[in-house]
Amino acid sequence: MTVEIGQFALILALTLSLVQSILPVFGAWRHDGRMMAVAVPTAFAVFALIVLSFVILTHAYVVSDFSVLNVVENSHSQKPMLYKITGVWGNHEGSMLLWVLILTFFGALVAFFGNNLPPALKANVLGVHGWITTAFLFFIVATSNPFRRIVPAPMEGQDLNPILQDIGLAIHPPLLYLGYVGFSVCFSFAVAALIEGRIDAAWARWVRPWTLTAWVFLTGGIAMGSYWAYYELGWGGWWFWDPVENASFMPWLAGTALLHSALVMEKRSALKIWTVLLALLTFSLSLLGTFLVRSGVLTSVHTFATDPGRGLFILAILTLFIGGSLALFAFRAQTLSSGGLFQPISREGALVFNNLFLTTATATVLIGTLYPLLLEALTGDKISVGAPFFNMTFGPLMIPLLAAVPFGPLLAWKRGDLLGVGQRLMTAFALALLAVAFILYRTSAHEVLAAFGIGLAVWVMAGSLTDLALKSGIGKVSAATALARFIGLPRSVFGTALAHFGLGITLLGVVSVTTFGTEQVVAMKPGDTLPVAGYQLRYDGLTPATGPNYTEQQGRFTLLDKAARPVDTIISAKRFYPARRTPTTEAGIVTHGVNQFYISLGDDMAGGGIVVRIWWKPFVTLIWLGALAMMMGGFVSLLDRRLRVGAPAKAKAPRPVRAEASA
């Protein structure tokens, strides 16, 4: 099939989503069921057309069709098949197409699972979703067409940036986009509610699964991006407070706040206006992230092409949606009734506390990210707001929040008993103190901050286990009963505990690797050994090797235990990709339990030696394992029965046959 079908399907999808943007909303305004009903089939059709378009582009990559400019610029006939496929979104045009693919995927999901939604709300939600789809499809067709042809077709492509030729490209962008774009559904729900001027507990219940889904994927996307940067860039760091990282972290913080405030709204009908605002802000931050990363404002491995026209276009979309939705919010917010009273010390109060700290943290990151950009735009001065700023502001904000985490799930709704909860958390508190004492003892009281950091992590983990233990009545009732109650607990309780536990795991990893990790930069010659974390590391020399589209020099290292027996071989390499004339470094990483040895090769020395950077990273994998636990928690919560609200029977509706006859 010709590539042009992909282009045609893209345009057809744009046209259809334009219809989806207008007709259902107009129908909802006129109470016209038939116009509203257009929303569902168009949402499906737009998704199907984008899938077709995406499949055709992927096919062009697979068969190396160099009559497509995008394939020429980002592929090579000798590239391994996996990278031919992942290369589809390893560039500006393709990644925007993936963005829209996921956007329309969520649109189709809403259409599919939306039977329990009132028709007018569903029509408005899908209509607003259509606005976003139309804007981005128009952006693609007008400025970033992936199907642009080139005549005559060259015989070979320019290959993909070697840094992107990694399994990470297969996982990180799709996960991250599922997160980023998933919040578009919350946004559409919020705008739809503002249009209708009617919002209630039911709204929160319909929105929550979408928030959870997006949050799970965004968590995974950020964690994967962090691990990818960790092993690919060869700097040994897992988070740099880089603007591109912050761009994904801000929606995550706001999304986490939204997740918690939607809970209050759903259960207690309170915090309605705030939740709607958070839903708008979360997706706005996603859009801001897309703008920062895609416009070329920031230079990073994510910047595929800097084209001022494109940047301006995304900025226009950004302004339209953020400005428009906030204006609508200002205009309609007072029509939303508030409800649900509660005491400050209560589950609701705890969740408000959570929201306060999370949104302040979001604002901190936002300022730290945008301030240097604005300053540069206004005065031309280049300043760098690095890790110290974020450690000074973001860190202290997180401490009270983390300390409060175990209290939240234990407090009762409406009116809680802080003292009672404190008593029930005594075991967890004792465990945390024990951890602090242990670290102080082992480090001869040198690492006070680390001791308290690890104590905090243990507190969060033990606290979430306490919640499970108390809710299943362990220690109060017989073991059999406790087990039965444990199994019978709502999945959302497990989800909460898992996610909070994961937070503790991540914190443990962060504190351990920051405090107890070691870094050495040495020049080594073959045969040299170096003591690292109780092992001896021997450098065995460089061997050349050839990959499918690169050549490399592999530095081989052997890890010897105390008895000088080899335990592991570590290979760290310097690669050269001839098609792009680009060198890359491949870090050599060996995982022992949750600890890692991390070796990165530097420059050759005169006389056969080489500069080697060696890191010992204790507990480092906990950082990402914690994120996995958080994802699992979100996933388990999604399975909770109460998120599946049935659709009402249509028996109470006016008899359809007579209505037809009288029409």
Binding site: M1, T2, V3, E4, I5, F8, I11, L12, T15, L16, V19, I22, L23, F26, R30, H31, D32, G33, R34, M35, A37, V38, P41, T42, F44, A45, L49, L52, S64, S67, S77, P118, P119, L121, V141, R149, V151, P152, A153, M155, R198, A201, A202, R205, S269, A412, W413, K414, K471, R642, V645, A647, P648, K650, K652, A653, P654, P656, A659, A663
Partner: protein, 392 residues
Amino acid sequence: MFRLDSPRGPIMSARMEFWLIAVLLTFAATLAVLLPLTRRKTADAADGQYDLEVYRDQMREVDADAARGLIDPQSAEQARAEIGRRMLKAEHEAKQQDNTKIPGMQGARWVVLSAVLSVPLISWSLYALTGSPDVPAQPLAERMAKNPADGSVNELIARAEAHLAQNPDDGQGWDVLAPVYLRLQRPQDAVNAYRNAIRLQGESAERTLGLGEALALVAGGTITGDAQAMFERAAALDPNDIRPRFMIARGLMQEGRNGDAADLLQNFLDKAPADAPWRDQLKTAIERIRNPAVAAANGPDQEDVEAAANMNPEDRNAMINSMVATLDERLKQNPDDVEGWKRLVRSYLILNRRDDALAALKRGNDALAGEKRNDLVAFAKGLGLELAEVKP
């Protein structure tokens, strides 16, 4: 079926295939809009009904929480009352909405019509603006399978490269590709290809000569030791080939061994057959090497400049000195050359021989007359030389 020998056949049918699919897609997309609009009027459950479902669910949850002791009985009672109030309100709304009429479509006919029509109209006009329906798909494998005679040079090279990537031990392939690379100024690829050809097909004068040229080209024209070794090997392999000898001589000249270079070529010329077509050319070349004066008569030629660029500073100075001497000699015989005098004065200045520059200025001043003399004096003044400085 399409016949492969008809070049227009497959392209035409690919186009027809495209238009057919485009029409079908447009039709399906239009139906997605049209069908819901033409369905029979049915009434959905009122909004309140949907809310009621949620509240009933919430009520069940409060009961479950209370049973588990997560909420104290008093609060549970309050919560039930709260939800109950919401249910009453929702029920009331649902009843109200039951009575509202479902409006007809009369007033919105034009909206519906334009929505349905916009699907084919907008999509086809946008495609007309941005698409290229005449460009067929060109998967690489298909292009490679085409008759090679139709292909361009680049296509042929790509074809050969793809073939060699699969069969890196095809010596004949490397042998064909190597000189093509050399001619296309891709010396690194040429070096690689020649090395492979030699590895697989054995040495030959042609291959070693080509490798030498490629190596020299990689080094920016300098005949490196590696390249020189290759030329010598080529010369040994074919005692009658003049090309490697020329290259060797060039290498010797780059080292400043002009005499050796001339001897080498002279030696070859002596043994060469009398009817060799290149005899005269070779003779001139030897002449030029032996008497750089002849070469320098019209200023340094491109080759000399290139050679100078590749020399170390001492050699370069020696070469410039010899060229200046040649010029000086020529002006003695032919003094009426204002440009020559200017060049000489400047050359001496560049060589830091100010006295010689002044002497040259004086000689020029004596030799020239009128306009030309004034021209030279003004030129020298611009360089900071005054006739007055000249010692009598």
